[in-house]
Symmetry: C2
Subunit: 200 residues, 2 copies
DNA sequence: ACCTGAACACCGTTCAAGT
DNA sequence: ACCTGAACACCGTTCAAGT
């Protein structure tokens, strides 16, 4: 029973998160287990529990990387452009990131806390941030409207974008054969956002 | 080891599906396992596998009941009214059924096939039906538009409704405190559907 | 101090054997 | 024919014990 001491806790943490991504990418979101991740990085399961609280923590930390990637892309998109264009970029960023790594995003979509534990605050803040970025743009778009109106529109619009990306990644959207998620996003943006921007 | 023979296979099937609903309602969607369902109805796990292919089959059959309930409600809503009103009813049917039995709908939202098995056709047809019902109304609403346009709008709209209901049931929508899913649905219907109906 | 390995209480699934 | 119970290969989580 050799000890390793080759890696710091932070390094082990990074190795584990990489292992989650590799396993998901090659064997799908259901392939994740503490034991498999441990085996992949050459440690025992017990070791994982010195670095992560539990599997939920492990998965959420892996998922947070993707959410952060989307948030960064959306923050970058916010620079300069007209709000309507920024929001369109954000929506397409979501879909295109989801298409780039469908299995990893499926893990984001599919994960639920064991038992009925609540989603931890640090993770919630990251997903809330995505709504906030949309809300900022809607406020720019219609500065004279009540903030509550922009908040409602942001939640409506981003939930809808989420629904489209979710069904796209799980192949439930392309029913007849020809509908693409990109077209659905554009339809949503044209009609929802177009109408919202004009009204009052 | 007493044999029972008290119930036919169909009765056992119904008992098991009821047990799934009871367990989910009282202990949440993560509480479902073949062993627990078997225990709840007084049979062994082995017995379950004479009635269901596997747990996916068990869960999907339970979930299909909810999907069917929504489909029936939406078919009933289709009678008589103006298409725009029918679609609004359908969307609110979805949300209100989801609110009536949040845990059971969470099971619908959260379930994914073990390994990477595909969703069986018989279940897919049921969820596709929900899209089809919306599509029919959109064709009524704009009879002169190309069928592909109605198909795209149906998928866009229903994916969005799905996204809103999904986030509503998992409590991820009410960020600031005041946004309700009902308002988000109405916002979606007003702006998306309103704009789509008017354009051309 | 760092990490292991075994233990505990669970899973899904199969199938020979009992009645 | 109907159903069981034990087996197999997995889980998540904990923690005394080893180095």
């Amino acid at each position: 029973m050799p000890r390793r001491s080759e890696h710091s806790l932070d390094e082990i943490r990074a190795l584990a998160l990489d292992a989650v991504e590799d396993l998901v990418a090659s064997h799908g979101p259901t392939a994740i287990s503490a034991r498999k991740v441990a085996a992949q990085i050459g440690y025992t399961v017990g070791m994982l529990y010195h670095v992560f609280d539990n599997v939920d923590d492990l998965v959420l930390q892996a998922n947070a990387r993707l959410v952060d990637q989307l948030a960064r892309a959306n923050e970058a998109a916010a620079a300069g452009n007209r709000p309507q264009r920024v929001i369109a970029r954000m929506a397409h960023n979501y879909l295109s990131l989801a298409r780039q790594a469908p299995a990893r995003w499926q893990l984001v979509f599919v994960h639920t806390m064991r038992d009925g534990r609540p989603v931890p605050d640090w993770y919630r803040q990251r997903t809330d941030r995505l709504f906030a970025l949309v809300e900022e743009q809607l406020q720019r778009l219609a500065p004279r409207r009540r903030p509550a109106a922009a908040a409602l529109a942001a939640r409506t619009l981003w939930s809808s974008v989420h629904g489209i990306c979710l069904l796209a990644v799980s192949d439930k959207l392309d029913i007849g054969g020809s509908t693409s998620a990109e077209k659905a996003l554009d339809s949503l943006l044209t009609h929802y956002l177009g109408s919202w921007a004009q009204s009052r």
